[in-house]
């Protein structure tokens, strides 16, 4: 069994993302895939999954090695069932992420990128709380709000690591996904111990212009 770096992308596909934003997200996932393919360490270790959420949530791509990953088609419509997405993330990680046992080395701590442009329309607090408490599967969660309609205080209840994408232009999303690629490749390059792992955070590369860290 090889040790994998699981990467989950949670993409908001609600109606307000329709048009340019959802196309930019699609393109961004392609870009992420392409960048990871150009890094041999990511090719060997990174596994990608895409979860989308609108009025409900679904795992459109299960955890798949980079070389076999097919960037999914995305459509935008409906509401913003963030709670359903978080619950699905919890379930997927429980099933898919391997822990260290007496017999095998576990996967690296999963990286999760949550992208949303609006506020949840379903019940999300209990799932957010579980995730914040690293239960049942600890993960490094980075929540990214995009546009003017997002309440970052909600995202802060899911994770300490919250970024804000001010505009929803194609360039913005492209820069964001490039940054996601860097984060994944840097994380997968840490083949030894990550000294900050105990502190809970992953060492994020500095975000590009247009993305700000929410303190």
């Amino acid at each position: 069994m090889i040790r994998r770096l699981p990467v989950y992308i949670l993409a908001d596909c609600s109606g307000s993302m329709s048009g340019d934003p959802i196309e930019a997200v699609k393109q961004g996932i392609r870009l992420l895939h392409s960048n990871l393919m150009s890094d041999p360490s990511a090719v060997e270790s990174a596994y990608l999954s895409v979860i989308t959420f609108d009025s409900s949530a679904r795992q459109v791509v299960p955890l798949t090695e980079v070389a076999a990953f097919n960037p999914p088609d995305l459509q935008a419509s409906g509401t913003t069932a963030l709670g359903a997405a978080l619950k699905l993330l919890i379930d997927c990680m429980s099933t898919e992420v391997r822990r260290t046992t007496g017999d095998q080395k576990g996967d690296w701590k999963p990286l999760v990128f949550l992208l949303t442009d609006g506020n949840p329309t379903d019940s999300w607090q209990s799932y957010a709380s579980q995730i914040k408490q690293n239960k049942p599967t600890p993960a490094n969660i980075i929540a990214v709000g995009c546009g003017d309609g997002v309440d970052t205080s909600i995202l802060k209840q899911i994770t300490e690591q919250v970024l804000l994408l001010k505009d929803m232009s194609g360039d913005s999303f492209a820069a964001f996904f490039k940054w996601v690629s860097s984060t994944v490749t840097i994380t997968s390059a840490k083949c030894g111990a990550a000294p900050d792992a105990a502190a809970g955070g992953v060492a994020l590369p500095p975000p590009p212009v247009g993305i700000t860290i929410v303190p």
Binding site: G15, G19, A24, S34, G192, A193, A194
Partner: protein, 453 residues
């Protein structure tokens, strides 16, 4: 293949016959992803009026050409780079229409082709641009210039001494080679008439000068303990077993404490670095023989492991793997302030009379062969009994060719070849030190055993 052998039952079948490596997931090149050619469904809520200029796509997107036959709405971007077939009536018909006479203008057809699938990158080997020792540290580390001159990405060493033989190999991992970085693993040993001190250290990835940390730690620990043994020889000769063991163990921890203090109080402030920039692990083995006693002690900080081969052929590991639930969560490093305490807790005395050989390995070897309580036997078997040809062993580790005898003179080269094994996802620096009885036990039948109480 299952390596579980019942206790006490010797087996020679530790190596799987040449088996195919695990199949890589195959990406079917003929699989195409066509974009759906249909209007987006209209949002029922959260409608936001987004003006639709030409969508931002990759620079290679073809220009809009008038009157495309495609039905897609404007918001469907042409991210496909080679999709527009014709801009004008096409007299160069597709192969199948060669027989058709073109009397009518053919409307340009846009065939959405999937973007070309990116090819997976392969590992490259690059020379680091940065010198091995940063400028600012050279004045503070008198031996650094020589160490820099001596540094090699892959290195070996051997020594025969006092009834033991030491053979070691270290190798820069593919990850560092690809990123044009130096090897961060290091090892060192010192030998005196009646003592051996052996150290292995692995610089923490993401700590900027961890290669200096590991080189300095191994060099200083072995050097200082050597000096102590030389100075204390007469005193040690008088001690009984328990006192000798305690005294040496105490000195090992004290030396670790002194080195931690030196990083924090001297090297870091004088170079402008932080102590954590030098973070590294440590495996330390000390053997000492006086007229009446013989003692072998180990301790460690961080990950890596000691393999133990007993004279009866049973093999296991010593040391708890210092990692958490997920890979890569080490709880202590040199020069963290808690390192001496960790090393104190990890001190262990081993019965030398029972011992045939010991391994000290960084996690670059530990991880591919995990779990080591079971698979230490696989390693010892391969080192003691040669590899006749390419093989994938019971730990799923693949050797690409035959490996000669590690135990003979010049066996260090064979050990270096052994260290070139392959396992997917295992691309860290690798270091292995084998300490074995000289001469080694002939025809030893090696099997896995549960750790001793």
């Amino acid at each position: 293949m299952n390596t579980d052998t019942p206790e006490g039952k010797p087996t020679t079948a530790l190596v799987a016959p040449d088996s195919a490596p695990p199949a890589k997931a195959v990406v079917d090149p003929s699989e195409s992803r066509t974009e759906p050619i249909e209007p987006n469904s209209l949002p029922t809520q959260d409608v936001r009026q987004i003006p639709s200029p030409a969508p931002e796509v990759s620079p290679a997107s073809p220009p809009q050409i008038g009157a495309p036959a495609k039905e897609a709405p404007e918001s469907e971007p042409k991210e496909d780079t080679a999709s527009v077939v014709a801009a004008q009536p096409n007299t160069e018909a597709s192969p199948t229409s060669a027989a058709i006479t073109n009397t009518l203008p053919i409307a340009p057809v846009v065939i959405p082709t999937p973007p070309p699938k990116p090819k997976p990158a392969t590992w490259e080997e690059k020379k680091p641009e940065e010198p091995w020792c940063p400028e600012v540290l050279i004045p503070l580390l008198p031996w650094a210039q020589q160490a820099q001159a001596d540094y090699e990405h892959n290195d070996t060493k051997e020594l025969r001494h006092a009834g033991w033989r030491l053979v070691a190999a270290t190798r820069r991992g593919r990850m560092h080679a690809h990123n044009a970085e130096h090897r961060e693993d290091a090892f060192a040993w010192e030998a005196g008439d009646d003592f051996l001190v052996v150290a292995v250290s692995d610089g923490a990835g993401s700590c900027e000068w961890s290669r200096i940390g590991s080189a300095t730690t191994t060099r200083e620990i072995t050097g200082r303990l050597r000096d102590w043994f030389l100075a204390e020889r007469a005193n040690l000769a008088k001690l009984d077993f328990a006192d000798l063991k305690n005294m040496i163990g105490h000195q090992m921890v004290l030396t670790i404490h002194d080195i931690v203090k030196w990083f924090i109080d001297e090297l870091a402030p004088k170079s402008g670095a932080k102590p954590k920039d030098f973070r590294c692990t440590l495996l330390l083995t000390v053997w000492c023989r006086t007229e009446k006693q013989e003692v072998l002690l180990t301790t460690q900080v961080g990950d890596g492991f000691f393999g133990l081969l007993r004279r009866d052929g049973s093999a296991t590991r010593h040391g708890e793997s210092d990692s958490g639930e997920f890979s890569g969560e080490v709880t202590s490093f040199i020069p963290d302030t808690n390192a001496p305490e960790h090393s104190q807790k990890a001190i262990k005395s081993h019965r030398v009379a029972d011992l045939e050989a010991m391994l000290l390995c960084s996690d670059g070897v530990e991880d591919p062969f995990y779990p080591l309580d079971k698979n230490s036997a696989v390693i010892f078997h391969e080192l003691y009994h040669n590899l006749p040809g390419a093989v994938t062993n019971n730990a799923g580790v693949k050797h690409n060719s035959a490996i000669g005898s590690v135990l003979d003179k010049d066996g260090a080269d064979a050990l270096a070849a052994w260290l070139g094994f392959e396992k997917k996802g295992e691309n860290d620096d690798r270091t292995i030190v084998l300490l074995h009885r000289d001469p080694p036990a002939p025809n030893i039948r090696i099997r896995s055993a549960a750790p001793a109480a």
